[in-house]
């Protein structure tokens, strides 16, 4: 008997368990349904959030005191919609890849998922924080043009700038570092050679 035969025979001697297949199927169908329901609820939440943003800021835009304020409202509507789109995109790239591909391709896809998330997180400052900051600033300028107080105008500029800077730091610093650490851990788990970067 060759070593391969011996190992194979030993390996295949493990046949100690069997399971009730009908109950397994029922359990899987239940879990599959739950998963679908969860996805549908998440999509619904996103759509509702998007509608709320559009309706509220559109209402503000209609009732705006001057053109600048209206532009700021429209800008913030666009930012809100863009944010929801961003969240949906993030959720899409965070999904697990389909498991039918080859093991090597799957390993690459698993790690690639983290790479996409890291790229996305690094882009947040351009695609979300900056436009949001500009919209809020525009809103504040409209308030000042409308005859608002200087001190309040200055305070709001400081607050929104500090808030945006904090969000930027959170995203670029701890956020990206967390994703990079998770990527490294995954690379070790699945085998470094399949995921060389």
């Amino acid at each position: 008997m060759t070593p391969t035969d011996e190992l194979r025979q030993l390996w295949q001697s493990d046949i100690s368990e069997a399971i009730n297949q009908r109950e397994l199927l029922q359990e899987l169908q239940r879990r599959s349904r739950n998963l679908d329901r969860m996805n549908r609820r998440r999509d619904l939440r996103n759509i509702v959030a998007m509608l709320v943003v559009i309706v509220v800021y559109s209402w503000f835009a209609v009732r705006a005191g001057n053109t600048l304020e209206r532009v700021a409202d429209v800008w913030l509507v666009a930012c809100g919609v863009w944010f929801i789109f961003y969240v949906r995109r993030y959720a899409r790239i965070s999904r697990k890849p389909v498991p039918e591909q080859t093991l090597g391709a799957y390993r690459q896809a698993l790690v690639g998922r983290y790479d996409s998330q890291i790229r996305l997180a690094k882009g947040v400052k351009y695609w979300f924080i900056l436009p949001m900051w500009l919209g809020l600033l525009l809103y504040d300028i409209a308030y000042r043009v409308n005859g608002g107080k200087n001190i309040k105008f200055a305070l709001v500029v400081i607050v929104i700038t500090a808030g945006s800077a904090f969000a930027w730091w959170l995203d670029e610093g701890p956020g990206v570092r967390y994703l990079e650490r998770k990527r490294r851990e995954l690379a070790v788990l699945v085998g470094e050679e399949g995921v060389a970067k």
């Binding site: 070593p3 069997a18 359990e27 093991l103 851990e185 995954l186």
Partner: protein, 185 residues
């Protein structure tokens, strides 16, 4: 009438998929159990992993068009889901719901002495396989399940020559582990 036909066709498809799924599970369950054992050292978590793989097969079944053999398709799914389930568990550190208590388990061994000897050697082999790097583990499990080099290539995406050289190294290592275990006895 057309709606009725569509519903009937859907039900027919569902039933045939269920039958196909049950056939696959029945045929490959021992192999899938062994695969699960090679990834999961904790017996309490093996059932969860087996369920994850079964769920993956169930969800992927409608997409299976026969581009590869059923066996290589199944092993791809099983290994890939095993890897990603371990990764998710490490990330979330939470467990899925266990199988209902009503699920029946059946023991098949009859000779206790034989069981003990084989069990010890198999445990040593399993422990050695669990220690292997993920890629090596996947290749040796496929090899021990009787897949040809070409089939292993289809599953893993590695070339046949790379598979051959890896297998030779892994086999030597595993045989060595078994021999040492016998010497200790």
């Amino acid at each position: 009438m057309q709606g009725f036909r569509r519903s009937r066709d859907y039900l027919f498809r569902m039933r045939s998929e269920q039958a196909r799924f049950l056939g696959i599970i029945e045929q490959y369950q021992p192999a899938l159990r062994r695969l699960v054992n090679s990834y999961e050292a904790d017996p309490g978590l093996r059932e969860d992993l087996f369920q994850e793989i079964a769920l993956g097969v169930w969800q992927a079944l409608p997409r299976f068009r026969g581009d590869s053999s059923e066996r290589t398709w199944l092993y791809r799914i099983a290994h890939n889901i095993a890897i990603s389930t371990l990764e998710s568990r490490r990330r979330r550190d939470t467990r899925e719901l266990p199988m209902p208590d009503s699920v029946e388990r059946v023991g098949r061994w009859s000779d206790p002495d034989h069981v003990l000897v084989v069990e010890e050697r198999r445990e040593a082999l399993l422990a050695a396989i669990q220690e292997l790097a993920p890629v090596d583990k996947q290749i040796i499990v496929l090899h021990l399940e009787g897949l040809s080099y070409q089939e292993i290539e289809e599953v893993s995406g590695l070339s046949e020559s790379a598979i051959a050289s890896r297998l030779s190294r892994i086999r030597d290592r595993l045989t060595d582990v078994i021999r040492k275990q016998e010497v200790r006895k």
